[in-house]
């Protein structure tokens, strides 16, 4: 499979220079690197600029409601666990509307990948304050500057028992590709929060702003100490880092735990979609009622 084959007839409608292009390319490169079969791969999009991505990746797609990518993705995975299932949405989608689903997807450990295009602003609805906006962020909905603290998606999902928690940066295509590849390979719920500049509506968290702060973490020495992704407390500590001195990117936390679908005895005989309905019978269940 080539990158070109992953394009559809439609072209992305994002603004020129949008961070979404980096994520889109990274996702496609990861699929190529994984040699994924587009016929058994499903992308689920939410609502927002990022949520439209299933229209622009030539796999199967489900473009649903605002904030509801994870339930749809969970249903798809359980109906046919042979499928590779990836949900994508923005910060408003996942951290506002969909937060309840996110926390439960973490503890459920359903074997899907969740990519959050986190641009710290509402793009498609024209620049309102997002749940990850920095304090003081000025927009049409907070002209006085945001008075709420931002969601910390990494600390939150680590605490919620996600088994793969990572952050990457849209402008670093190689890193995006690498992290998404690892996330899709992971057996269990993998969340990748992606720092994504919005060139039209976020004039605070720009490419320059991120470039001067982002630094990589990993098992090797990167100048800011080695990071052991199996150490939950170390992961939490890194997740708390968000300042002018640095914003870490990389795999924060990874743990081996039986996935929800992997531990479900109902799925052992094969994907439910292959069940022969003509053999469904309720005789024994009826007998119990006599």
């Amino acid at each position: 499979m080539t990158l070109q084959e992953l394009n559809t007839q439609a072209r992305p409608t994002w603004c020129p220079g949008c961070g979404n292009f980096g994520i889109w390319n990274g996702v496609k490169r990861a699929l190529v690197a994984l040699n994924a079969d587009p016929t058994t791969t499903v992308f689920i999009g939410g609502v927002g600029c990022s949520g439209k991505i299933p229209h622009w990746i030539n796999t199967f797609g489900f473009h649903g409601l605002h904030g509801r990518t994870l339930p749809v993705a969970t249903g798809i995975k359980l109906a046919n666990h042979k499928l590779t299932v990836v949900a994508e949405g923005g910060d408003g989608d996942g951290y506002d509307e969909g937060m309840n689903h996110l926390i439960h997807a973490c503890r459920r450990n359903i074997n899907i990948t969740y990519i959050v295009h986190n641009n710290q602003v509402f793009g498609l609805t024209k620049g309102q304050t997002s749940p990850t906006a920095d304090p003081g962020f000025v927009s049409s909905t907070s002209p006085w500057g945001s008075r709420e603290l931002p969601i910390n998606p990494l600390a939150l999902t680590i605490a919620a028992h996600a088994t793969f928690v990572a952050r990457t940066y849209a402008a670093d295509l190689e890193h995006v590709t690498k992290i998404i590849t690892e996330a899709v390979k992971h057996e269990g719920f993998a969340i990748v929060d992606i720092l994504q500049p919005c060139v039209t509506f976020n004039h605070t968290n720009t490419y320059d702003w991120y470039n001067s702060r982002v630094y990589k973490i990993g098992p090797e020495e990167t100048g800011r100490g080695k990071h052991d992704a199996t150490d939950k407390l170390a992961a939490m500590k890194r997740a708390e880092e968000w300042s002018d001195k640095g914003i870490p990117i990389g795999i924060f936390y990874q743990e081996k735990r039986t996935s929800f679908d992997g531990g479900m005895p109902q799925l052992k005989k094969g994907p439910l979609v292959e069940k022969d309905l003509s053999k469904c019978d309720n005789k024994k269940d009826k007998e119990k009622l006599f």
Partner: protein, 581 residues
């Protein structure tokens, strides 16, 4: 002395919640069924775990019956309050079985001098067998058997079946039942009771309620996925199917909320399996957005809605038919939504299967609308109705090559395009909540939009044509014609029997398919009948509104009840008799 009535009984067990009233009631109902009688139950309980007041009513007769009745022959009162509350419901010379060592009952106290007060020394019995208060139910049931002259072996056998896994508890229950039986036999030595039960030869019958029947139908239909957030009174769906999940290969997810439930079921259906969710009114409210998404993405799904008393948290454990208009108008925008309201377990069994067929064939949401009354009321059947064949409609099988077929291909006939699922070769498409073209790509051009809306809405007409049309049961010129939907069917059937005894003729138009609606057929029937009367468990006569909307016909005589309780057949018959609506 009048001869006792044989095999015609109405018995009520009442007491504080947490005392095992529901399970005792179920055991007694099973005993009646096992003895060859037809059984119908009715239970009422408040929304709490301990305390409050529970009641379980069992009506059992040798001839077929459809509904509970108000009149009670025997009351098992597990506390004083129960005796005082229900004494007025008792038939002439009816009986109260109670613990005379717990409280005293006198005719003056009850305002009834005809009643048989069967005081059983329960505390002594409990002490003698060295058990806990928990065996009170068994003592009371044993006493009822003694009073009714019913074969105690039936009770002992059912107790063994139900509690055989706990030998110690079972042994205590058996001793308790025997002691209760002996105590009541003694009381009836001088004067036999007004009612007796005798084992009759009859085919074995199952004792089944509406949700159990719905679950059995869903199993036969091959349900493979259930996502549900527990909500009274719909939790019987997940509890029932979870037990069957492994044997039948059904993925069960207890979700974080009802928004998740329906979205998850949509995901499962999109991936190719028969998917179900269940809830009550409040949860259904949360599902509205996803319902609309199911419509536009043409994703078939079955939603089981068990209504309770509304609005708000309302009456969580009580019954009401107040969600009809809500369901018919649920979801933003316009999309085809099939709504079916089963009446009794037999119809629940068939309609569950039909719902899955319709969801697959028309690729759109199907709501099966129960209310607490028909979800929880037990009936007896030798056999459930015949199964419907599984019809999955036009769809590609797993891994099949679609050879360029477009998921949302135009269809000017019935609006249905062939379903493509992930894994289909050359079938990649997006199921989009945005308006889209036949390939699924977002498209808001005026012509595409108009044609897509027409394509989707066309499905309703096709579905209407295949649904069984309304039938008037009885004569057009009957003195009264009842018009109803859902859970009231069995109650009205028995009300009509009572009217027949009084030489009042009646007929009945009962509707099951609420959308698509058979407007013309309903109008044709209503134009012919003499005296239509609307019977509904809601405050605004919602079926009446629906009929008027579709036919222009206004039914101005109506009997509405919205106190959280089902109608009783006697009440309906009485109103028809006096002719006041």
């Amino acid at each position: 002395m009048v001869n006792p009535e044989v095999n015609r009984l109405s018995l009520k067990i009442a007491g504080p919640a947490g005392e095992g009233i529901m399970s005792a009631g179920h055991v007694f109902a099973k005993c009646c069924s096992r003895g060859g009688l037809y059984v119908v139950t009715e239970n009422e309980r408040p929304s709490l775990i301990r305390g409050g007041h529970n009641q379980f009513m069992i009506r059992a007769e040798a001839e077929p019956i459809n509904s509970h009745i108000n009149l009670v022959n025997v009351l098992l009162a597990l506390d004083k309050q129960s005796a005082l509350m229900h004494a007025s419901e008792l038939s002439y010379k009816g009986a109260i079985i109670y613990d005379k060592e717990d409280f005293e009952l006198t005719p003056d106290m009850l305002g009834r001098h005809d009643l048989r007060l069967i005081g059983v020394p329960m505390r002594t019995i409990i002490k003698d067998i060295g058990a806990g208060k928990i065996v009170e139910n068994a003592i009371a049931m044993g006493a009822a058997f003694g009073l009714l002259g019913y074969d105690l072996d039936i009770l002992l056998k059912i107790l063994k079946e139900e509690y055989g896994k706990h030998p110690e508890a079972l042994a205590a229950d058996i001793k308790a039942a025997q002691a209760g039986y002996a105590a009541a036999r003694e009381c009836t030595m001088q004067e036999p009771f007004t009612n007796t039960l005798k084992k009759v030869k009859a085919p074995k019958r199952m004792l089944i309620n509406g949700l159990q029947a719905f679950n059995l139908g869903a199993l036969k239909a091959g349900v493979s996925f259930l996502s549900q957030y527990p909500m009274t009174p719909s939790s019987g769906v997940i509890a029932g199917l979870a037990k069957a999940a492994e044997a039948h290969h059904i993925a069960i997810v207890q979700t974080e909320d009802e928004i998740s439930s329906l979205n998850m079921a949509l995901g499962a259906s999109y991936a190719g399996v028969r998917a179900l969710t269940a809830t009550s009114g409040g949860g259904y409210a949360l599902m509205n957005e996803a319902l609309s998404l199911a419509g536009v993405t043409e994703t078939g799904v079955v939603i089981c809605l068990v209504s309770r008393g509304n609005p708000g948290t309302g009456l969580p454990t009580r019954t009401e038919q107040s969600d009809l208009m809500f369901v018919l108008n649920a979801g933003h925008g316009e999309f085809p939504h099939i709504v079916i309201a089963p009446s009794d377990p037999a119809s629940a069994y068939v309609e569950a299967q039909r719902a899955f067929n319709l969801a697959d064939k028309y690729q759109t949401p199907v709501t099966v609308l129960f209310d607490r009354h028909n979800a929880e009321t037990y009936h007896t059947y030798e056999a459930l109705p015949a199964d419907l064949p599984i019809e999955r409609g036009e769809r590609f099988m797993v891994d099949e090559d679609v050879h360029g077929a477009r998921r949302y291909e135009w269809n000017d006939n019935n609006g249905v395009s062939k379903v493509v699922i992930p894994s289909n070769k050359n079938g990649r498409f997006v199921a989009s909540g945005n308006e889209h073209d036949p390939t699924g790509l977002m498209n808001d051009e005026r012509e595409t939009r108009t044609r897509m809306m027409q394509k989707r809405m066309r499905k309703l007409g096709a579905a209407r044509a295949e649904l069984p049309g309304p039938v008037l049961d009885g004569e057009e010129d009957a003195d009264v014609t009842f018009v109803s939907w859902g859970s009231t069917l069995p109650i009205i059937k028995d009300a009509r029997k009572f009217l027949e005894e009084k030489n009042i003729s009646s007929s009945h138009l009962h509707l099951t398919y609420m959308n698509p609606f058979h407007g013309e057929e309903v109008a044709a029937i209503l134009r012919k009948v003499k005296n239509p009367v609307l019977i509904e468990n809601n405050a605004t006569g919602q079926l009446g509104q629906l009929i008027r909307m579709h036919t222009g016909i206004n039914i101005d005589r109506r009997m509405l009840q919205f106190d959280g309780w089902p109608f009783a057949p006697e009440e309906i018959a009485h109103r028809a008799e006096v002719g006041r609506w």
